[in-house]
Every structure is written in structure tokens, then in C-alpha cells.
């Protein structure tokens, strides 16, 4: 193990440090002997593969978890954080990878939860709404502070969560994959916020799988692999490909596989005048056999809802033809039977049963395949799990874990494995690589291309522009619930897509 310690730059004072931190879950050591220092005014990125232990490390630093071994110092003094509230009092705030908001409260109520502004006996909603609106606007978002959080999209919730964290007086802000569910525009705004925070003198710790972003933002980078600290380095001079190599331990040279776009009239899925009330209007598109079709758009463009409408998960009106035959689906069971599967972007809320074992999750959608007579064939279920773990490279040290105990990226792989058990002909993947490390991304792209090569068709809904461009044969851009246009070939570039997605010419865009 190489452990190169960088001499601290003069203008950054050390704020917090961890010494020999270790964490054990049920006998498994997921963090081993981690020592790192965090300096005021720096942006410190933590990168690593899925399951490397990044979230666990940050949770320890923010007082959400107690380390099994090791100690923390703040301003040189050893401290034991009694919990997140204690950490907050010391100026340490964590923006979770998971969304932690009360769905029944409004945006403003969530942002000020536990620290309400009071006016006499009562709470001052006016002030809080104004404060919340400002906090959200600072992040470049436009969300009504009186909206109930349960009605927001994942991305919007992510922004609310960030706004909430930044409201506390902070000396260290910890972001666990804050940009995973954001589109380029929100990402840019957030990155600016992050650099503002560091400029104001506070430290920023930050996890991301988007390595170019790390490159532009971070002052220093710490790499974790298998729970061990590989290195901490100055970001300057580290190229994304170097980072990937440090993370994965091998060369990652080519992220996107080659795929020849099919042409002609061999349409497997034709959607005409699809209306999803409240979300999408009059959407029409066609999908060829063996094609990878991308869907781009801003947060709230209605892509997710359109797809859910097509597969019968939401009330929708319109014509759908599958292999030239008109079909309509009242629920996901029917579309699955017809060979279409949809992988939700919300893997925790809609994808996996977090309280159930991996095997139960894996076979849930395709359970019919595991029925012998009237009984479930548990042996076959176990075999399927072994196979899925191998095939999708699900990193788990223990097959008896609950799905909720997997790291975020590995949950995503489990979800893919679950839906692939159905052997679908058309796969709709919503945000396929959200929160996934670069090595695994490569695997997922390979997998998508393989599906297309086998003559299956794939729809990829993604907010990550390079990914869409890299993997798709053709991209449909949605704006405010309507299909704005379609791009392919040399028109598939970020500039043109952003113009279509925002409806704003580059010259007008600030």
C-alpha cells in the first residue's frame, strides 16, 4: 500500500483529522486504518469504487457512525462525536447520499426542521419561506418553498437537502455524491456553490464518481480501495484517467463501447401521442430493434413519468405498438409479460426492498421462474444469486446481507440483475449509473451495448450528458413534458442538447 502524504500548503490550516479510523459491520471490516486530514478552505475529494467505504468514512466524520477504532481531532483536540447534532454544533454538516427529508412537510419546513425561526410562541413561516426560497435559489434551482417535498423529483429533493445543510453555520461541509442526480445545469450551479464555500474559508469534503468534475473542483484527492486508503494527493496534475486507475487498480482507457447504430424501419416499439397527465404531453417516438435510444432533458422534464406511463405504472393515454401490434398496459406486470422492463431511478424507494435479503430482491420480479409445482425453489434462487453476483460484479462480502446494507452502487447492480432475470426484449433504464463508480460504469455500458448487439432494444434516460452521448445511437430531448427534438450523429453533442433542453440559445444563457 502506497501512502504518500502531501506536505500541507501554507494557506490552508488543518481543521479536522482522522487517525487510524476503522469500521466493522457485523464482523466485516469495511474501513481499515484510515488517516487523513482536512484543511479549512480546501475542497477535498474522496473517490473510490462502489463499496470502497467512502460513505462510511464520511458518516464517521459527521458523527452518524462511531468508528470501531481510531480517533478524530478537531483543531488539534481529540473529540468523540456523540451524534450528528453534536457534529453540527461543531460546524460539521453532512449531505447524505440518500434523501433524508420528511415527505409530508414543505420545502421550507424541511429546510428549517429542528431549527425553526420563531416569532414569540409561534413559528415564523414567512421568514422561513423567504429564507428557504433564497437558499434554494442560491443553488440555481427554482422550487416553491411551499411545495410538499413528497411531490418533488429526486433531483429537486437533493437540492433541498443541500440547501438545508448549508443553512447551518459550517466549518466543514461533507457532500456524499451531491451531483449524482443532477443535470449539467444544476451541477454547474452546485459546483460554484462548493467553491464559494471553500473560498469563504470552510472545508469541503466531497465524494463523486464524476472524475472530470473532481478534476476541476478539488484541491486534493483521497483514493479509497477496499476500505483502505490508497493515497492522498494534490489534484493538480492528476488526470481523470489516473484517478480511475488509482481507484480500480488497473487501466481504464475506454469508457464507452463501440456500437453500430441500426437503421431502417424495424421498429419494435412505437409510441404515439402519449399523454401522462401533469407530466408529459403528446409524446411520439419509435425504437428500432437493436437500438440504444437516449432520453435527455433537465430535471423535471418528465422523462421518468413518460416512461412510467408507457409501462403502465402511471395513468396515461396514447397509442403504443409493440412489434407493430397495438398494446396497452394497465400495470408493470403486463408490460413485463410483453417483454418490456423499466428500471426505476429511485432504487431505494421503488427498486429494492431494503429490509429484505439480496436473494429475495433479485427474484422478486421474475419469481415465476423459480416456482416448481407450487413451491419456490430456494436452491435455484440461491444459484441465481451466485450467478448475478458474478455476472454483475456485485461487491458483497456476504450473501446474507440485506439489500439496504449494500453500498449505493452495488444496489444499482442488484436492481439491474433483478430486472434482467426477466429476459426482456426492451429495457428502459432510468439513470443507470447514478452513483456508480467508473469501473462499474464501464461494465454497465458494456452490458447495454451487449443487449443491443443481441437484438434487444434499450432506452437510456440519463441526466449525465457525456454518458448519453457516449452510449446512445440517437438522443431524444425533452423539455417541460414535450419532446423538443431528436439528435443523432454529429449533432449529438452537449451544446446542441443543452440548447434543446433549455430552449435557450447559448448566447442568451448566462
Amino acid at each position: 500500500m502506497t501512502m504518500s502524504v502531501v506536505s500541507p500548503s501554507q494557506d490552508h490550516k488543518g481543521f479536522m483529522a482522522g487517525h487510524g479510523l476503522a469500521k466493522t459491520f457485523g464482523g466485516v471490516e469495511v474501513l481499515k486504518d484510515i488517516s487523513l486530514d482536512i484543511r479549512s478552505g480546501e475542497v477535498h475529494a474522496i473517490i473510490g469504487e462502489n463499496g470502497a467505504g467512502k460513505s462510511t468514512l464520511l458518516k464517521i466524520l459527521a458523527g452518524h457512525l462511531a468508528p470501531t477504532r481510531g480517533s478524530l481531532t478537531i483543531d488539534g483536540e481529540t473529540v468523540a462525536l456523540s451524534g450528528p447534532v453534536d457534529a453540527e454544533h461543531r460546524g460539521i454538516v453532512l449531505v447524505h447520499q440518500e434523501i433524508l427529508l420528511a415527505p409530508d412537510l414543505t420545502v421550507a419546513q424541511n429546510i428549517y426542521l429542528g431549527r425553526e425561526i420563531k416569532k414569540g410562541l409561534s413559528v415564523d413561516d414567512k421568514a422561513m419561506n423567504a429564507g428557504a426560497a433564497k437558499a434554494v435559489r442560491n443553488l440555481g434551482a427554482n422550487i416553491d418553498p411551499k411545495t410538499v417535498v413528497g411531490r418533488l423529483s429526486i433531483a429537486q429533493r437533493q437540492l433541498v437537502q443541500i440547501a438545508r445543510a448549508l443553512l447551518v453555520p459550517h466549518r466543514l461541509v461533507i457532500f456524499d455524491e451531491p451531483t449524482a442526480s443532477l443535470t449539467p445545469i444544476e451541477t454547474d450551479a452546485l459546483l460554484k456553490v462548493i467553491s464559494d464555500i471553500s473560498k469563504s474559508g470552510a472545508a469541503v469534503l466531497y465524494i463523486s464518481h464524476r472524475l472530470p468534475e473532481v478534476k476541476t473542483l478539488a484541491d486534493r484527492v483521497t483514493v479509497l480501495r477496499d476500505g483502505k486508503l490508497v493515497t492522498t494527493r494534490e489534484a493538480a496534475g492528476l488526470e481523470p484517467l489516473d484517478m480511475a486507475q488509482l481507484m480500480v487498480g488497473r487501466d481504464v482507457s475506454k469508457l464507452y463501447p463501440d456500437h453500430v447504430a441500426p437503421e431502417g424501419e424495424d421498429y419494435v416499439l412505437e409510441v404515439e401521442n402519449m399523454d401522462v397527465p401533469g407530466y408529459a404531453r403528446n409524446a411520439s417516438f419509435k425504437l428500432r430493434r437493436g437500438e440504444i435510444l437516449g432520453f435527455a432533458g433537465l430535471v423535471g422534464a418528465g422523462r421518468t413519468e413518460l416512461m412510467e406511463g408507457i409501462v403502465g405504472l402511471r395513468p396515461a393515454k396514447g397509442k403504443i405498438r409493440l412489434n407493430r401490434r397495438p398494446v396497452s398496459f394497465a400495470n408493470a406486470g403486463q408490460s413485463m409479460k410483453a417483454g418490456i422492463v423499466y428500471l426505476s431511478e429511485d432504487r431505494k424507494g421503488k427498486g429494492l426492498l431494503l429490509q429484505e435479503a439480496l436473494g429475495v430482491n433479485l427474484t422478486l420480479a421474475g419469481l415465476k421462474k423459480f416456482v416448481r409445482g407450487i413451491m419456490l425453489d430456494r436452491k435455484a434462487e440461491r444459484a441465481a444469486l451466485d450467478q448475478a453476483i458474478a455476472e454483475f460484479d456485485i461487491r458483497t462480502r456476504n450473501k446474507d446481507l440485506l439489500a439496504g446494507q449494500l453500498s449505493g452502487g452495488n444496489q444499482q447492480k442488484l436492481l439491474i440483475a433483478k430486472m434482467m432475470l426477466l429476459k426482456p426484449n426492451i429495457v428502459i433504464i432510468d439513470e443507470p449509473t447514478r452513483g456508480i463508480d467508473i469501473g462499474t460504469k464501464e461494465q454497465i455500458y458494456m452490458f447495454i451495448a451487449d443487449l443491443a448487439r443481441q437484438g434487444k432494444s434499450v432506452i437510456v434516460v440519463s441526466s449525465e450528458m457525456p454518458e448519453l452521448i457516449g452510449v446512445s445511437d440517437r438522443i431524444i430531448v425533452m423539455r417541460e413534458g414535450v419532446i423538443a427534438d431528436e439528435v443523432s450523429g454529429k449533432h449529438m453533442n452537449e451544446r446542441e442538447i443543452v440548447v434543446l433542453a433549455t430552449g435557450v440559445k447559448p448566447s442568451e444563457a448566462a
Binding site: 433524508l100 420528511a102 415527505p103 412537510l105 426542521l113 413559528v123 427554482n142 411545495t147 450551479a189 433537465l298
Partner: protein, 334 residues
């Protein structure tokens, strides 16, 4: 900064939705009033309606407390038995003749009831939060305990307020009125107004909603979930004591069966009023409407002459279901 034009229709939609959800129980109430006017000519008289509102007072006040408990994601099945227990103790106290002045006696008894109510609520809350027992089972157990203690206090008989002076001074609390509005009706509205203020306008109320909406979030926000939960049960206890305050002067007596089924009535009032049993949403005024609805159903059943009394229960059950369906369909249309 995506686009401001899209926000507006969405928001308007939202508003319409919120409104209808909160208004639905009142529409159900209005429909029942219309239905009642067919049942009997005297139904829509001020006299009858005030009667009905007056006697819905205990359930309404208990249900207002239950709104807090349920909003925080809890449940309290012990309130009926608790009413019997508190009222029995209070009557025994007033029978004790320790205080000569009847007014002082009633005031002391009032203080006692509130104290016992808080103690009972606190006990419920602690059993649930410290013992980490499901509210359903914990309060079912407490229901057995309060009911059993009442039976034991009454030695199987009735506990009756004996002192006529005390009775005379206490009686108007149920039977008296202010400018024609019976005190119990006033009590409902005052309690509801205070409750609505606490739930919607104080940080404690906000925390109650947060705990019911997502316990983990509340915890991460530095809210002491156990404290908030316990407090809701304490409020419930206080409301039960408030209900006793009005209950005692009406019948001046309790037995071991006083208040049976009140817990179910209170919960029904809360749910009919639009509060979700899963927690996170609380509608105080809806609860009051819910309590009126339940009482009016009973009133209509009694005034009408068309229904066999053997079928009363069946029709009440059916009307509750229909009321919920009306609510749901109203909400869905929006």
C-alpha cells in the same frame, strides 16, 4: 433556474388538491345535514343541532388529542378506559368531603383530573418510547390496566357524585351556555383552536409532523423523537382529562363500562376528518368535523323511524364507509 412558466400550473393544481382534501370532511358533514333534514322535521332545529354538538364534545376533545398522537405516527387505544379511570378518581375525590366549599372542591377536582390525565398520558408515552413497544399493543395493555383499576375502584358497582352542592355548582359546565352556545360546544372550539395553533404554528407541532412523516429525518434534524412522541401522549392525556371535565357533570356517575369503545370512536373521528393513520398529516378541524359526523349519524338513526333498531349498527358502519368514499372521490377528482 430551469423555467418559471412550468411552476405555476403545477402549483395551482397542488393548491386545489390540498384544499379539497381538507374540505372533504366538511362536505361530508353538509351532505349528512341534508340527509338528516329528510329523517325528521325537528332535525334542523337549533335545539337538536346544539344537542348533538354538545354531546359530541367528549369524543371531539379526545379525538383532538388523538390527532396529535396519530400525526406523530402513534395510536392510543386506552383513551376510553382512561376516561373511566380519571372520572372515577375525580368523583371519589369530590365525594371525599375534604374541602367544604363546593366551588373550591370542583376546582381542586379539575386540577386533579388534569394531573392524572398528564400522568396517564406520560405513562403511555414512556411505555411506548422507553419500552419500544408497538403503540397498538402497549395502549391495549394500558387499556386493560385502566379499565381494571376502574372496576376495582368501583368494586363492580357505580361511582356516583353524592354531594348535591358540588353537583349544583358543577352541573352548568355541561348544561349551561354562553349566549346560547353550550359550554361543551365552546370547549370543543377552544380546544381545537389551541390544538391547531400548537400543531401548525409552533415548532413542537412541526416536530410532531416530522416525526410522523419520517422518524429518521426527525432524528437527524436533532429532534428527540422519543420526547416528541411522549409529549403527544401527554397531550392526549390532557385532552382525556378535559373530556372528563365535561363528562362528569352530565351523568354524575361512572361504572366500569364508562367509555367503552370511545377509543374507536375517537380514532374514527380523526380518520374521517382526514388525518392519515400512517402519520405525518394532521387535521385538527377535520377531526372536529369527524366527531360531529359520527354523532349526527347516531342522531339521524335515532330520529328516523324507518330502520329496524337491530340494523342500526349495520347502517352506521355503512355510512362511515360511504363518508370515506365520498372523501376519497372528492380528493381524487382534483
Amino acid at each position: 433556474m430551469t423555467d418559471t412558466t412550468t411552476t405555476t400550473p403545477q402549483r395551482r393544481n397542488l393548491w386545489r388538491d390540498v384544499d379539497l382534501r381538507a374540505v372533504a370532511p366538511f362536505i361530508a358533514l353538509a351532505l349528512l345535514l341534508v340527509l338528516g333534514s329528510f329523517a325528521h322535521d325537528n332535525f334542523l332545529t337549533a335545539n337538536n343541532l346544539l344537542n348533538v354538538m354538545t354531546r359530541s364534545a367528549y369524543i371531539a376533545i379526545i379525538a383532538i388529542g388523538a390527532t396529535f398522537v396519530i400525526t406523530a405516527g402513534g395510536l392510543d387505544l386506552s383513551v376510553g378506559a382512561m376516561t373511566a379511570f380519571i372520572a372515577s378518581l375525580a368523583i371519589m375525590f369530590m365525594n371525599s368531603d375534604g374541602i367544604a366549599n363546593p366551588l373550591t372542591m370542583v376546582l381542586a377536582a379539575t386540577a386533579l383530573m388534569l394531573a392524572i390525565g398528564m400522568a396517564c398520558g406520560l405513562t403511555n408515552g414512556l411505555v411506548i418510547t422507553l419500552g419500544k413497544i408497538e403503540p397498538f399493543i402497549a395502549t391495549l395493555g394500558m387499556m386493560g390496566i385502566y379499565r381494571g383499576l376502574t372496576t376495582w375502584l368501583s368494586q363492580g358497582g357505580a361511582i356516583t357524585l353524592r354531594n348535591p352542592d358540588v353537583q349544583a355548582i358543577y352541573r352548568p359546565v355541561y348544561f349551561g351556555n354562553l349566549f346560547g352556545i353550550p359550554y361543551p360546544v365552546l370547549a370543543i372550539f377552544v380546544t381545537a383552536a389551541i390544538a391547531a395553533f400548537i400543531l401548525y404554528r409552533t415548532s413542537f407541532g412541526r416536530h410532531v409532523i416530522a416525526v410522523g412523516s419520517n422518524e429518521d429525518v426527525a432524528r437527524y434534524s436533532g429532534i428527540s423523537v422519543a420526547r416528541v412522541r411522549t409529549m403527544t401522549y401527554l397531550i392526549q392525556g390532557l385532552c382525556v382529562a378535559g373530556a372528563c371535565l365535561i363528562y362528569i357533570p352530565r351523568l354524575s356517575s361512572t361504572t366500569a363500562t364508562t367509555g367503552t369503545m370511545w377509543e374507536l370512536n375517537a380514532i374514527t373521528a380523526v380518520v374521517v376528518g382526514g388525518t392519515a393513520l400512517r402519520g405525518g398529516v394532521g387535521r385538527v378541524w377535520g377531526t372536529v368535523a369527524g366527531a360531529f359526523i359520527l354523532e349526527i349519524i347516531g342522531n339521524i338513526m335515532l330520529l328516523t323511524t324507518y330502520v329496524s333498531e337491530y340494523l342500526l349498527g349495520a347502517i352506521q358502519g355503512a355510512i362511515v364507509i360511504v363518508a370515506m368514499l365520498v372523501q376519497r372521490s372528492l380528493t381524487r377528482k382534483s
